[in-house]
Amino acid sequence: MIKKTAIAAATVLAIVLPIVLQLVNDYLLHVVIMIGIFSILSLSLNVIIGYAGQFALGHAAFYGIGAYAAALLMLHFHLSFWIALPASAAIAGLFGFLLGSPVIRLRGDYLGIVTLGFGEIVRLIFVGWVDLTRGPMGLPGIPAPSLFGFVFSDKLEFYYLILLLLLITYVVIHRLVHSGVGLSLLTVREDETLAQSVGIRPNYYKLLAFTVGGFFAGAAGAFWATYISYVSPDAFRYLDSVNILAMVILGGAASLPGSVLGAIILVVAPEILRYVSDYRMILLGLAIVLMMIFKPSGFWGEQYRKRNFYGNVKKVGNK
């Protein structure tokens, strides 16, 4: 009962709130849209880190690949956004698969540094391949999506678009991780040898996680490209990967509502802390360290996941 009311309230809020926000200030709507983009990013990274237990550090690379793929498809091939979006997501997913294939054999810290290197290389290619990407100047003039003559032009329309994308992402990932696949992923995360002994192929599931993670990050990138109508290598730096990682950690690994919560906190906090904006990244770094020391399972972490996962079999506390 309570859950149904909560969902209904959230739905009404998600539809009505932006209209109110827009009346107050257009910029607030932009913040909410950024929350949407980063929620998709942290959800997709959570599949890799939280469920498959693979410490990947180059998530901004998939985001960037999606954005550049969408920009190039729309600018050079004049494809509609509705084709460019799944296409660029698929391209980013393919890169997830390609990166995953050699590196899934590596252990935690090695994997981290290799994926970090991958992110850096992808950015270097964005900067260096001037013929295709115009290098640091970026690609301007990406058209807005249109549907049967209706052009998405103002922020409110983009908001509903990202809301839809976020919902699709959330539902697909939710279904995925709450299925047998999700259980296999968790088994691989907990103990690879054990997983193998009961017939679960760790490499298959790790690759799957990389592909799915890359796919949705690519979709977020494609949306970003059309929303800002400009892409440049600056948006896909190493620090952006760390930022997405921090969202996953803050919300709690293997927790989907946690990922969204993490995105909300880390998008809104810098806006509130604008007067200390110079110290923003310093505070982020400090927050990550403190979080690891005092609350490594995140704000919406493990115990919530278990309750979600095993349904009503075992209630944890009376909260």
Binding site: G53, G108, I113, I121, G128, M281, G285, P296
Partner: protein, 290 residues
């Protein structure tokens, strides 16, 4: 031409070796990759520049001071960001290290700005020619100082009582503690030595390329980590060998293949080594027991 490239590669190689030592010493004991090490290197570089510009100190004093202060910073990082997490999952200190790395980079950006700083030194463009090879003054300084530092470290680790205790700690933390070795102090010491070597390397890079900037630690860090893995992580002579090898390969690759994608070369080496021989050239094979 080839010999000249070899010299340049050797110069950058010994610098990688110095940074790689920090990775390898920490990994040898704690079995964690200190992700913040590249940024400690950057802080060392900035500190050297700071001492020289603000206090007009001579170069050698700046080297000593920067190494000392950076050693302190390394010990502080270990004490507050890693020690409370020693019993946690392997991934936890890793994320904490990432936080430290972000903290250091943004602190440097706040203190010194994001732009490149030149590193003014008294070194002229005087060069010495031996046969067909030309050494610049700076190259000679880098080679001599690095070799001296590595020799010193080698003697310390193999010939002194503390060094022996340190090697014992890296063989087994528990057994070393049972033998009455203060393992916490050994870990602190490993961080201090690694950080001060990184600080020296940072100043050398700053002088060599005449540029210091807050994000210089990323690529240097990845390259040095590659060097450590190449030589066999946890193995001190391995890190030295790996650094020199990587410097040579990278410079020759840059000269004969493509300068723009020089970092792609080291990255590819890292992946290949990790896949084919994760224990590196000199490392011992690690056996995972169920």
């Amino acid at each position: 031409m080839f010999l000249q490239q070899l010299t340049n590669g050797l110069t950058i190689g010994v610098i990688y070796a110095l940074i790689a030592l920090g990775y390898t010493m920490v990994y040898g004991i704690l079995k964690i990759v200190n992700f913040a090490h590249g940024d400690i290197f950057m802080i060392g570089s900035f500190l050297g520049l700071f001492f020289m510009q603000e206090f007009q100190l001579p170069l050698y004093l700046a080297f000593i001071l920067s190494a000392a202060v950076t050693a302190g910073i390394g010990m502080l990082i270990e004490r507050f960001a890693y020690r409370p997490l020693r019993l946690a999952d392997r991934i936890v200190p890793l994320i904490s290290a990432l936080g430290v790395s972000t903290l250091l980079v943004s602190l440097a950006q706040k203190l010194w700005g994001t732009e490149m700083h030149p590193f003014p030194t008294a070194f002229g463009s005087r060069t010495y020619t031996f046969g067909s090879i030309t050494f610049s003054e700076i190259q000679i300084l880098i080679l001599l100082l690095s070799i001296l530092l590595m020799l010193g470290l080698h003697l310390f680790v193999t010939r002194t009582k503390t060094g022996t205790a340190m090697r014992a700690t890296s063989m087994s933390l528990t057994n070393a503690a049972l033998m009455g070795i203060n393992t916490n102090r050994m870990i602190s010491l490993a961080f201090a030595i690694g950080s001060s070597l990184a600080a020296c390397a940072g100043m050398m890079v700053g002088i060599y390329y005449n540029a210091v900037y807050p994000t210089m630690g990323y690529m240097a860090g990845i390259n040095a980590f590659t060097a450590a893995v190449l030589g066999g992580i946890g193995n001190i002579p391995g890190a030295m060998l790996g650094g020199v090898l990587l410097g040579l390969v990278e410079t020759l690759g840059g000269a004969y293949i493509s300068t723009q994608y020089k970092s792609v070369i080291s990255f590819s080496i890292l992946i290949i080594v990790l896949l084919i021989r994760p224990s590196g050239i000199l490392g011992s094979k690690e056996i995972n027991k169920v």
